[in-house]
C-alpha cells in the first residue's frame, strides 16, 4: 500500500484540491448547518448565563469550576496534534504528513479559539475581563504574575498567535495557486491580498523555507509549554488530586492523544466530504493510527504513574480522592475514561482495523470521549472530595446550560473548521506535489536499480 500514487499529475493535484473550494459533497452543508445550530444553542446559553449569573450553570461552593474548565482543557489538548504533525514531523522529515498537516494545523488554531471561549464563559464578571491583562492603566496595578491562570492566558495567547502565523505562512504558496486559478470575485481578492505577491522565485522559496522552519522550531517548545502550564493550573494548586508532580507530561501526553484521535476523525470526514481519497490515503491513515496507538500507551503509562504515585504516598487526602474516583459517584465516568482511554486503543493495535474506516471513526470518537472524561475527572472529583470533609458533596450535576455550552463548543469548532476548509485549501498543494515528486524520484531510482540488477 502506498502513501500516495507517484504518478499523479500536478495539474490534477491543483484541480482536485482547488475543487474542494468549490463543490464539496452534500454532507458538508449538513455538517455546517448542524454546527451552526449547535453554536446557536451556546450563544443562547451564554446570554442567559451572562444576564442571570453563573448560578444557572448549577455550579456551587465548593464545585466552582465544573465542565467549563474541563472542556477548556480538552480543547487546549486538542490543539497539540496540529503542531505534532506539522512542526515535529516536519523537522523529522516524515513526508507522509504532507497531505494532512494543513488541516491538522487548522485544527490547532480553531481548537485554541474554542478553548479561549471557555475562559470567557467561565469567568463570573466577563465585563471586567480586561483586568487580567497586563496593560498600562491609570490605576497603576498589574495582574498577579504569580497566578498560573495568568501564565495560562499568556501561554495560550502566544501559542494561538504563533499557530495562526504558522498556518498562514505555510499556506502562502498555495494561496498563490488559488489566486492564479480562481475566477474573479471576493475570494480572488482575498487570495491576492494574502499571497503577498508570491511568485515562486528561488529567493522566495529560500526565504520561505527558512521562515517556515524557524516558526516550526519556535512552535514546538510552545506547544509543550502551553499544556504544561495548563497542567500547572492544577499542579501548582494545593488540592488533593491536583498537586501532582507528573501532571505536566501527563497533560501533554493527553493532549497529543486527544489531538491524534481528533485528527483521525477529521481525516475520515474530510476525505469523504472533499473527495480527497487520492491524497488522504489509507496508508497515511494507518500511520496516524499507529502514532495514536503509541501515544495512547504513553498516556496509559503516565496515568499509571500518577495512580501509583498517589497510592504509595502518605498523602491521605489525595488517596481518598483517588478511591473516591474509582468507587464514588464519579466511578461510572472514571471507569469509562479508563475504558475509552486505555482499553479502546488496543483495537488500533490490530492491523485489520488500522485501515477500517467505520471502525476507526467509531474508535476515534470514543477515544475523544475518553479524553474529555479524563479532563472532567481531573476537575470535578477534587472539588467534591477535597481536604475539608464538611464541604464534600455528591449531588452537584452540571445543568443543561453547562451541557449546552459544551455541546455548542463542538458546533463552534466544527463551524470554524469547515468554513476554513471550504475557503482555504485544506490539503497543501505544493507539499503534496513535493511528496509526489520525491516519491517518483525514489521509485525511478528503485526501478533503475532494479533494471541494473537484471
Amino acid at each position: 500500500m502506498k502513501d500516495i500514487r507517484e504518478d499523479i499529475a500536478w495539474a490534477k493535484i491543483n484541480r482536485d484540491i482547488l475543487g474542494s473550494l468549490e463543490n464539496p459533497r452534500k454532507l458538508y452543508w449538513v455538517i455546517v448547518t448542524c454546527a451552526l445550530a449547535a453554536f446557536g444553542v451556546g450563544v443562547g446559553c451564554e446570554i442567559y448565563q451572562y444576564r442571570t449569573g453563573m448560578g444557572v450553570a448549577n455550579l456551587n461552593n465548593p464545585q466552582v469550576w465544573g465542565l467549563y474548565i474541563a472542556t477548556f482543557i480538552f480543547w487546549i489538548g486538542m490543539s497539540h496534534s496540529g503542531t505534532l504533525l506539522s512542526a515535529i514531523l516536519h523537522l523529522m522529515h516524515a513526508d507522509w504528513r504532507k497531505p494532512i498537516y494543513r488541516f491538522a494545523e487548522a485544527m490547532t488554531t480553531f481548537s485554541l479559539m474554542t478553548a479561549g471561549l471557555f475562559v470567557m464563559v467561565h469567568i463570573g464578571r466577563l465585563w471586567q475581563f480586561y483586568y487580567s491583562l497586563p496593560y498600562p492603566n491609570e490605576r497603576g496595578i498589574w495582574p498577579n504574575f504569580q497566578s498560573p491562570l495568568l501564565w495560562d492566558a499568556m501561554a495560550i495567547f502566544t501559542y494561538l498567535s504563533s499557530s495562526v502565523l504558522f498556518l498562514y505562512v505555510g499556506m502562502i504558496p498555495d494561496l498563490a495557486i488559488c489566486r492564479d486559478h480562481l475566477h474573479e470575485g471576493w475570494r480572488k481578492k482575498l487570495y491576492t491580498l494574502l499571497a503577498l505577491g508570491w511568485e515562486g522565485s528561488d529567493r522566495q522559496w529560500r526565504n520561505f523555507r527558512v521562515t517556515y522552519l524557524t516558526i516550526a522550531c519556535f512552535l514546538i517548545p510552545l506547544a509543550v509549554s502551553v499544556h504544561s502550564i495548563v497542567a500547572s493550573d492544577f499542579a501548582m494548586s494545593q488540592q488533593p488530586g491536583w498537586h501532582v508532580t507528573s501532571f505536566p507530561p501527563y497533560f501533554v501526553a493527553g493532549a497529543l492523544y486527544s489531538g491524534c484521535a481528533a485528527i483521525i476523525t477529521l481525516f475520515i470526514i474530510l476525505r469523504y466530504v472533499f473527495r480527497f481519497e487520492e491524497y488522504m490515503t489509507k496508508s497515511i491513515l494507518k500511520k496516524t493510527v499507529r502514532l495514536t496507538f503509541a501515544i495512547s500507551m504513553v498516556w496509559t503509562y503516565l496515568n499509571a504513574v500518577e495512580f501509583a504515585g498517589v497510592w504509595y504516598s502518605h498523602d491521605e487526602a489525595s488517596k481518598a480522592v483517588l478511591i473516591e474516583k474509582a468507587t464514588g459517584i464519579y466511578a461510572p465516568f472514571w471507569w469509562s475514561m479508563i475504558f475509552c482511554g486505555s482499553v479502546m486503543p488496543l483495537v488500533l493495535a490490530f492491523k485489520r482495523f488500522q485501515t477500517n474506516i467505520p471502525v476507526l471513526f467509531a474508535v476515534s470518537l470514543l477515544l475523544n470521549l475518553g479524553m474529555w472524561l479524563e479532563r472532567w475527572m481531573i476537575v470535578a472529583p477534587t472539588f467534591s472530595h477535597g481536604y475539608y470533609p464538611w464541604t464534600w458533596e455528591n449531588d452537584q450535576w452540571p445543568s443543561l446550560i453547562q451541557w449546552g455550552m459544551v455541546f455548542a463548543s463542538f458546533g463552534w469548532f466544527t463551524l470554524l473548521f469547515m468554513v476554513f476548509c471550504k475557503v482555504f485549501p485544506s490539503v497543501s498543494m505544493y507539499e503534496v506535489k513535493e511528496m509526489v515528486y520525491h516519491r517518483s524520484l525514489h521509485l525511478k531510482k528503485g526501478e533503475t536499480a532494479e533494471q541494473g540488477a537484471h
Binding site: P136, N137, E138, N144, N207, V210
Partner: protein, 235 residues
C-alpha cells in the same frame, strides 16, 4: 533573512519602549469639556463663591455679591468632615441659623426657596457632586486631621486637593477625576517614609505595585504613610 530579523528586533524594541512609556505616563484626566468638571443641577443654586470666596478689599461692607465673598471656612458648614468619614451636607437649620437674621437677602428667590423648605420642615434634596463608587472607603476625618490639624494648612487648600477651587464656583462641580489612579498620584508623591506612625508593608499588595516600599533610615521595618493595602480604600 537577517534584514527581517533586524526589523523584527527593532519593532519589538520600539513596541516595548512605547509600552513602558505608556505604562509610566498614564495619568488620570477629567473627561469633561472644561477643566471644572461635570455640571450638576441642584434644587437651589447654592453660591459657594458668595459664601467662601475671598472678600473684596474695595468693598468693606461686602454688599455686592458680584464682587466678593465672605471667606467663610469650609468647616463652618461642613462640620462633619473633621469628625466622620463622610463630610455630609449641613442640616437646613444651619442655613436658617444665619439667614433668618440677614434681612437684606430675604427676598431673593434662592433664599425664599430655602425658607419654603424650612417652613415645610423638609430637607433639601441636594444632588451628590463628589460621589465615589460604593466599594470605596474614603475618610474625610483622616485627611483633615493630617493637613489642617497637624500640618496647619489652610482649610480651603486642604479641601481643595480633592474638591478643587470651590470658593470660585457657584454650585460645586467635581473638578478632579477622583479615580484610583488619581488618588495614587498624590499618595505616592506626598507620602514618603515617615519616622513614626507608619504601617509596615505587607507583602503582595506592594508587588502588585500600588505603593513603592521604602526602607527607613535605620534599615529596619519598611514603613509608608497612607494607603498601603487594598483594604485601606476598598470595602
Amino acid at each position: 533573512m537577517h534584514r527581517l530579523l533586524r526589523l523584527s528586533i527593532l519593532l519589538m524594541g520600539l513596541f516595548s519602549a512605547a509600552g513602558s512609556y505608556a505604562a509610566d505616563a498614564t495619568q488620570p484626566t477629567l473627561t469633561t469639556e472644561d477643566s471644572l468638571g461635570p455640571q450638576v443641577v441642584q434644587p437651589i443654586e447654592f453660591p459657594h463663591n458668595r459664601h467662601a470666596g475671598l472678600r473684596n478689599p474695595n468693598d468693606p461692607t461686602n454688599s455686592d455679591p458680584a464682587k466678593g465673598g465672605m471667606e467663610i471656612d469650609c468647616q463652618y458648614c461642613h462640620t462633619y468632615a473633621r469628625r466622620s468619614a463622610v463630610a455630609g451636607i449641613p442640616p437646613l437649620q444651619k442655613c436658617i441659623g444665619c439667614h433668618q437674621s440677614i434681612e437684606t437677602v430675604r427676598d431673593k428667590p434662592r433664599i425664599q426657596e430655602l425658607f419654603k423648605y424650612w417652613d415645610a420642615k423638609k430637607p433639601v434634596p441636594w444632588k451628590k457632586v463628589h460621589d465615589l463608587p460604593d466599594f470605596v472607603r474614603f475618610n474625610h476625618e483622616r485627611h483633615i486631621k493630617r493637613f489642617v490639624e497637624q500640618q496647619n494648612r489652610p482649610t480651603q487648600e486642604a479641601c481643595g486637593y480633592c474638591h478643587g477651587d470651590v470658593k470660585s464656583m457657584t454650585v460645586a462641580r467635581r473638578s478632579k477625576p477622583l479615580t484610583m489612579g488619581w488618588c495614587a498620584t498624590c499618595h505616592q508623591k506626598a507620602h514618603p517614609v515617615a519616622a513614626e506612625g507608619g504601617t509596615p508593608i505587607g507583602n503582595q499588595a506592594y508587588w502588585y505595585s500600588f505603593q513603592k516600599p521604602v526602607a527607613d533610615a535605620s534599615g529596619g521595618a519598611v514603613k509608608a504613610q497612607g494607603p498601603n493595602d487594598c483594604w485601606q480604600c476598598h470595602k
